[in-house]
């Protein structure tokens, strides 16, 4: 079964039926809601700060060509090397070549969703490199052989008992139920790996055009170590990560932290410009940046949905999404889960195969409300639905829309149809109909009124 939609429907119905797991996810997010609201309340105006943040990203993305060139010019002036990759394969090749040229053996990685997008770990492992994820959540997911569940909280679905078992199996440590002890096991295990690694690979949250710096946001300190100790630092980033000025970060960094994790500021927000400079005692000798397109220019070419490229990957839209909370992150089958993933995946990987994600929404708009850069997420899901029907209508779409158009333009036929429907509705429940039977398995059909709405309206108000 390789059809993403079929896999999605199957996985989502399995995970939705797991009441325990759903309760666990809701509980895990409980603390987030409280902290996020506390931090938001410290803003003199969260709503106006959202305006400013969305304008900062809007002005950079709508001048992307110039800003990227400016960024690259400054980045190179600082001694870094820029590589452009049109797609995942090219990005993998570039990184494999850097590793081969350096005769590297061990590679340490800090969290980088873009590397998940290009399946970098598999490629590196196949080429014979030892690759270790250093972010605790990513480390756990790597040991589990599973994709991240949530692009900010990669292993939020895994219970501590399972993590303890995992560590016992792979690291030979004694079982424990304390999150603290489990964290310390990973800390001890990874420390020497940072020191021994030849290459450190990181992502980037922002590329600052004005100064040529890249900005990395993290809580654990693993990205700091990954970019300090190995001789080579490779950063991988989507082209849309550009902001114009360093000043923009004065707004974006606190908002990213508050929206994403309910913090005033993430623990480490680090700006890198170039490899080790003269007079500095440590740091990498080489600093490479791989700029990835991989479908982003396709999204850019759609002015209606271009703002999806403003995303700062805070994860807030996932944390509030009723669909995410019920089906969980793995069912999406995408690198980017939740509302933003459902919006961009059809653009990045094909509307035909991934359009079903546009339906993975109740259109409640919680995502749009949560987004710190005001991306119109739930409308974009609607836009994707519309685009899919326009470009690739299924037989059902065609018949249904034709029939609807036909009937709605003929009031008498409409009234008659309504009447037929009202009288036959109770019968429908007993017939094995596609879609409807599945829907009715867990829901009761209301009894239809005896009169149509139009008839009632006439009776009560106008006659």
């Amino acid at each position: 079964m390789s059809d993403p939609k079929a896999i999605f429907l199957k996985d989502a119905s399995v995970s939705t039926a797991d009441g325990d797991q759903r309760a666990f996810i809701r509980k895990a997010l409980g603390g987030y809601y409280v902290n996020r609201d506390l931090q938001k309340a410290r803003f003199r105006s969260w709503e106006k700060a959202r305006d400013a943040a969305s304008m900062a990203k809007w002005s950079a993305v709508n001048d992307l060509g110039n800003q990227l060139e400016k960024f690259v010019g400054n980045f190179e002036k600082n001694g870094g090397v820029v590589h452009w990759a049109q797609d995942a394969a090219e990005a993998r090749e570039i990184i494999l070549k850097i590793a081969a040229d350096a005769k590297a053996k061990a590679i340490i990685k800090s969290k980088c969703m873009t590397s998940e997008e290009i399946h970098l770990n598999d490629a590196l492992a196949k080429a014979g490199y030892g690759v270790v994820e250093s972010d605790l959540g990513e480390f756990i997911q790597q040991l589990r052989g599973e994709a991240p569940y949530h692009f900010v909280f990669p292993c939020m679905h895994v219970k501590r008992e399972a993590i303890s078992e995992l560590f016992t199996k792979h690291l030979g440590t004694a079982p424990t139920n304390s999150p603290e002890e489990l964290t310390m096991i990973a800390r001890r295990h990874l420390r020497q790996l940072y020191v021994d690694a030849d290459i450190g690979i990181s992502g980037a949250n922002f590329l600052v055009a004005e100064t040529g710096q890249i900005s990395i946001t993290e809580n654990e300190g693993n990205a700091r170590l990954t970019t300090a100790l190995p001789k080579i630092h490779i950063a991988l980033a989507g082209i849309e990560k550009v902001v114009k000025n360093l000043d923009d970060l004065a707004i974006l960094l606190p908002m990213l932290a508050t929206a994403g994790a309910g913090q005033p500021m993430t623990c480490y927000n680090t700006l890198y410009s170039g490899p080790r400079q003269k007079g500095e005692c440590d740091g990498p000798e080489q600093f490479h940046l791989v700029l990835l397109d991989n479908g982003r220019t396709r999204l850019l070419a759609d002015p209606e949905q271009r703002d999806a490229l403003h995303c700062i990957r805070c994860g807030a839209c996932l944390n509030v999404c009723p669909i995410f909370k019920n089906i969980g992150g793995l069912a999406y089958g995408t690198t980017y889960q939740g509302p933003i993933g459902s919006v961009i995946t059809p653009h990045l990987r094909g509307l035909k195969q991934w359009n079903h994600l546009s339906g993975a929404s109740s259109l409640c708009g919680a995502c749009t409300d949560a987004c710190p850069v005001r991306i119109d997420l739930h409308h974009h899901l609607l836009h994707n639905r519309r685009n899919a029907v326009k470009t690739n209508p299924t037989l059902f779409d065609r018949v249904f829309h034709f029939g609807f158009n036909f009937v709605i333009q003929r009031p008498k036929l409409f009234a008659f149809g309504g009447k037929v429907f009202r009288t036959t509705l109770p019968l429908l429940k007993k017939l094995p109909l596609p879609y409807l039977s599945a829907w009715l398995k867990t829901r009761d059909l209301p009894t239809p009124p005896s009169q149509s709405f139009r008839a009632q309206w006439k009776d009560q108000n106008h006659e």
Binding site: A52, N62, A85, Q86, G279, D282
Partner: protein
């Protein structure tokens, strides 16, 4: 055509159709002090006294331990006490007028890490002592840099980090800190600038907060008046 040209070409073509501006609550008022909208962020205080009060609150919430001392002599005493209490044996420090005298007065093995850097040796140390660039009251962040805080690893590899600074290094908000950096360095930026906001932490296991994921478990800020 190179990939660079291809990508830039696609971008220029894509941008020929303009996208509408985001729906804003109210138009942004242009300000003299960038960035636009900084006045909507959390307050950083109008005066140093106010800023210090905000800073104290923030640090406490973040679990950064603040030690305020009136002068350098007492800073030495404070760090001595800390080191006895914590039982530090190996101390890595940055050569700096504020830091060196303190480090050298400790009854531990001390090593100036930025003079002859060695990552293996640093990994063995119990604590690092560094200075910093700036402290941001609004967020409780401490800005370190590769040029003025003893390189990249010193402030993050050992399990404890002590920052020595003066109250005059406190600025109200992040925008001020960024402005200062631009003024101080212009085009010659340190290769790393890091805003440290509390000790290293993770919530990856069941979203339960644990300190000291990979960076320091403990962070101390010794703030000298003046």
């Amino acid at each position: 055509m190179s990939s660079r040209e291809n990508i830039l070409g696609r971008i220029r073509e894509a941008l020929q159709v303009k996208a509408p501006q985001p729906h804003l609550q109210a138009p942004l008022t242009p300000t003299n002090h960038p960035p636009q909208g900084k006045e909507w962020l959390p307050d950083g205080g109008e005066s140093l006294t106010e800023s210090l009060a905000i800073l104290e609150g923030q640090l406490a919430k973040l679990k950064t331990v603040l030690v305020r001392v009136p002068n350098e002599t007492l800073a030495v005493e404070a760090v001595k006490l800390l080191s006895q209490e914590k039982g530090w044996k190996q101390v890595a420090y940055q050569g700096h007028p504020l830091v060196t005298p303190i480090a050298q007065s400790l009854a531990c093995q001390t090593w100036q890490a930025d003079a002859d850097f060695n990552k293996q040796k640093l990994e063995q140390c119990d604590v690092s002592l560094t200075s910093c660039e700036t402290i941001v009251a609004q967020l409780g962040s401490i800005l370190v840099s590769s040029q003025t805080s003893g390189g990249r690893a010193l402030s993050v590899l050992p399990p404890a980090h002590v920052v020595i600074a003066r109250t005059s290094q406190v600025v109200p908000d992040l925008a001020d800190a960024i402005g200062q950096i631009k003024e101080r360095y212009g085009q010659k930026l340190p290769s790393m600038l890091s805003f440290i906001t509390g000790p290293s932490r993770t919530g990856d296991i069941e979203r339960i907060l644990v300190l000291g994921a990979h960076g320091p478990k403990e962070l101390f800020l010794v703030l000298i008046d003046g």
